[in-house]
């Protein structure tokens, strides 16, 4: 058997576009999710039980639905409720919903595990409510979650392959269309796999940088 890498080379643009789409969809939805996660984590940590319960239900609903099924729901089921989305919007919304649920939970867990002393010092120095959250709690939480967010991003990149089911031209879709056109499944999927590995390697590098920052903050907690 000879590898038909010439075909892959000829179709490099498809792979490049697929990779590009995977990257920007995941990057944008990760940023949006992080932002929404920050908004969600406040009610998740509310002192009021009812507020907590509502937020918790919302987060768990997002977390406990398979990504593929959520994609079907957003792209195929919403139109029957009169809401048709183009596949790009549907893809982005699916990624954001799914990922926000995880982000909120990740942020909550990091918040709960902060040593209480820094927050207490915040209170003692006149911080309360949203200012306490914004100036004292949130920065520590964001630094602490860096590595976990990186791992979640790797998860998201892999899950985004399911978007090929709605013919969204991300990396897996590109690989699949090249292989089915030229009958080169091995070459095509191998190249896609290598590209995913490279992508995750890049994220992994950032994770390690983030881990160093998080370790610094942990040391600064003074225990």
């Amino acid at each position: 058997m000879t590898l038909r890498l010439d075909v892959i080379w000829k179709e490099w643009l498809q792979f490049a576009l697929g990779l590009g789409n995977t990257v920007w969809l995941c990057a944008v939805s990760m940023l949006l999710s992080l932002l929404l996660g920050v908004l969600f984590v406040v009610p998740l940590m509310s002192r009021r039980r009812a507020v907590r319960a509502v937020a918790r239900t919302a987060v768990d609903s997002g977390r406990c639905i398979p990504f593929l099924l959520l994609t079907y729901l957003v792209y195929y089921a919403l139109p029957s409720l009169g809401l048709s989305l183009d596949k790009w919007t549907a893809a982005l919304i699916t990624l954001v919903i799914y990922n926000t649920a995880y982000m909120a939970e990740i942020l909550r867990s990091a918040w709960v595990h902060l040593p209480p002393g820094q927050t207490e010092a915040g209170r003692a120095f006149g911080y309360t409510g949203i200012r306490l959250f914004r100036r004292i709690i949130l920065p520590q939480v964001l630094i602490a979650v860096g590595p976990v967010v990186g791992n979640q991003l790797i998860q998201l990149i892999k899950d985004s392959a399911f978007l090929s089911i709605i013919t969204l031209p991300e990396l897996t879709y590109a690989a699949n269309s090249v292989q089915s056109f030229y009958f080169v499944p091995f070459e095509s999927f191998l190249v896609a796999t290598l590209l995913y590995w490279g992508l995750c390697g890049g994220v992994e590098y950032l994770v390690q940088r983030g881990e160093r920052l998080a370790a610094m903050v942990r040391r600064g907690h003074g225990h």
């Binding site: 002393g117 207490e120 003692a124 120095f125 911080y127 920065p139 610094m216 040391r219 600064g220 003074g222």
Partner: protein, 257 residues
Amino acid sequence: MATDPVPAVELRGLVKQFGGHEVLVSIDLAVMPGETVCIVGPSGSGKSTLLRCINWLERPDRGSVFLHGVRVGYRRSDGGNVLMSDPELAMLRTRVGMVFQHFNLWPHMTALGNVIESPIHVLGRPRGEAVAEGERLLEKVGLADKRDVYPAFLSGGQMQRVAIARALAMRPEVLLFDEATSALDPELVGEVLAVMKDLAREGRTMIVVTHEMKFAREAASRVVFLDNGRIVEIAPAEVFFEKPASERARQFLERYR
């Protein structure tokens, strides 16, 4: 004209319980401006709780706290006393500086960042003014060169001195220290105690929970001996250490000989 001086901090009939257990039984204490009062007592006697009740980090169950005659936690309104809102309480807390056993510096800010944080963002002081004062305070605690260093890269003693500068930056009416040297390696205790002694000598009003009897003897105007949530003894430092009135205090002091 001689008027009755108003205590910087006054506690009247303070009671605090945790789950039905009375941790502070009924505390009466007046600390005059310029005084350094050391609170000593066995572990679990309620020293930390007492400090935390002063700025209402812990809300007392009964009794009252006054800062220069202003009641903490309640506001007078036409009907009587109403509970302060969170922002009101927060503003009142800025009048009390607090130094913690584990420093509790904010690790995402540099030494100077920690010192100027609350003056800028809570008190609303202009940034330039806060920075100038912050630099002066870091110099005062001997850490001018650590201005841009993050807490992670400071020793325990340095962290605690930054924490003291942070408290001073609020220009507080009273400083509370909760075992400020207990978490430090023995060789780092001295540098922090030296700063605290300077502050006492300057005539700052300080309430200091400590196990450092030598410090209490040298720096305190009065010593409060707390046992089982009660003030068993209040006496000038030399009296307390030379001739403690109670048997409990004698036993307690034995352990430090």
